[in-house]
């Protein structure tokens, strides 16, 4: 594998050196896009810059062996290398022949990593939309790369970013430590002291089990929470739609006995009530779940005791 890649890279370097793009269009400078958002300006001045170097200022790494009948599509992908922490994040452009690439965005990313640029880093596992590893922002929307079809119009260029307002570990890999800590904080397990009536199982009627539909299917991909502007600004204290959906999953479970304690844990100004029904969460959920509705139900149950 390494030998094959090395020989490809040698051929690439000698035959078709990637020419730097010299487009005349003006791209936003690092701080220009924060005009009108004073808080963002302050945070960006204080923290590492968030606006990546635009695609016009980075090289384009092209499809290894283009043919006459190839459908070439351009991808702009967010890159940042922690081994050079002082370097700014940039948008790297890649072109791929869609005829040789699988239909989903994850196929494009894997093909880029295998054949074009092995340093591209991203998380992936099941490739079928059930593990939640490949959650990223594709063409402005948070979704799973393995479920997102590559739009076949070659005139449009796709942009791939990591999940918004997360700390970037490398390239498209977000730091989800806080997300997992928040999930742990809601005690996502059955809490019950009374033994089962028949001594064997904690039984549940069909109606009570139906209440959990639309709640248990969450794969904790973090697409919804990182699409919520309120979570962007209040990440430390607001739990976010994914974790609140799961807390409702336990509140609604008829077998759980600590419903009042679970509701009490949410009864303050920040953990639940930073939700202002922006509704980006339900719009973006790649599994078709509705966290906004669950949060509304929690608010109702807290309001009417």
């Amino acid at each position: 594998m390494a030998l094959r890649l090395a020989s490809r890279r040698l051929a690439l370097a000698s035959a078709t050196a990637p020419a730097p793009r010299i487009f005349a269009r003006g791209m936003a400078s690092v701080l220009e896009h924060t005009k009108g958002e004073p808080l963002s300006t302050v945070s960006e001045l204080l923290s590492s810059t968030t606006a990546p170097t635009p695609p016009s200022k980075t090289s384009t790494i092209k499809e290894p062996e283009p043919e006459k009948s190839s459908k070439i599509k351009t991808f702009h992908i967010y890159r940042w290398n922690p081994d050079e922490p002082s370097s700014k994040p940039k948008m790297q452009s890649y072109t791929l022949d869609l005829n040789k690439t699988g239909p989903m965005m994850l196929d494009a990313l894997i093909r880029i990593k295998n054949e074009v640029d092995p340093t591209l880093t991203f998380r992936r596992s099941c490739r079928e939309g059930i593990c939640g590893s490949c959650a990223m922002n594709i063409d402005g929307v948070n979704t799973l790369a393995c479920l997102c079809r590559i739009p076949t119009e070659t005139t449009k260029e796709s942009r791939i970013y990591p999940l918004p307002h997360t700390y970037v570990v490398k390239d498209l890999v977000p730091d989800l430590t806080q997300f997992y800590k928040q999930y742990k904080s809601i005690k996502p397990y059955l809490q019950r002291t009374t033994p089962p009536p028949d001594g064997r199982e904690y039984r549940q009627s069909h109606e009570d089990r139906r209440k959990l539909d639309g709640l248990y299917e969450c794969i904790l991909c973090a697409c919804c929470s990182t699409s919520c502007p309120s979570y962007w600004w209040n990440q430390e204290e607001y739990l976010g739609p994914a974790v609140l959906l799961q807390s409702y999953r336990w509140i609604a479970d008829s077998r759980d006995e600590k419903t009042e304690q679970r509701k009490d844990a949410l009864n303050n100004s920040m953990t639940l009530y930073r939700c202002h029904t922006i509704l980006n969460c339900s719009r973006t959920c790649p599994k078709g779940l509705n966290p906004a509705l669950a949060i509304a139900e929690i608010k109702k149950s807290l309001a009417f005791a």
């Binding site: 922690p82 922490p85 997360t166 730091d175 922006i278 339900s282 719009r283």
Partner: protein, 149 residues
């Protein structure tokens, strides 16, 4: 293992969070507002907040000025304002009225939409888009109607 958190395990936890804090110092924050797709969900929500601030801010500013006006020699009574406004050309009058009415009508109609969400109804992707565009249409139509009153 052990039930109560011992002093050692608490310190280990702190060591972990301090390592994380140090890593975050060098890590960039992934872009958000500038790259997220324009959607009616967060656009209308932002607009609701902005119009709310404009309306209440304007109300407070005018109220404060009204109280202070006699002491700084200004005249902000309704009759005086109406007389001055009546002298404007018709186009400017209608234009100004539309501009002032738009935040008010948008915030009112979107407010009703928010209240329905508080009852946990119409929180469905299709309904959110439909009600969103309905609010936008009602806003523009009612603002124009109010401007011609």
């Amino acid at each position: 293992m052990s039930s109560a958190p011992s002093a050692e395990s608490m310190r280990e936890n702190d060591a972990g969070t301090s390592i994380l804090a140090r890593q975050r110092l060098n890590r960039p924050v992934a872009p958000h507002l500038m790259i997220y797709k324009a959607q009616i969900t967060w656009y209308l929500s932002g607009l609701n907040r902005i119009t709310g601030c404009l309306l209440s801010g304007g109300f407070y500013v005018f109220g404060a000025l009204y109280l202070v006006a006699p002491y700084i020699g200004w005249h902000l009574e309704t009759a005086v304002l109406a007389a001055a406004f009546a002298k404007w050309p018709a186009v400017l009058k209608v234009g100004a009225k539309v501009l002032v009415a738009l935040p008010f009508t948008f915030h009112s109609f979107n407010g009703v939409r928010h209240l329905t969400w508080d009852t946990a109804s119409l929180i469905d992707n299709k309904k959110v888009v439909q009600t969103g565009w309905t609010v936008v249409g009602l806003t523009v139509v009612s603002a124009v109607l109010l401007a011609f009153l």
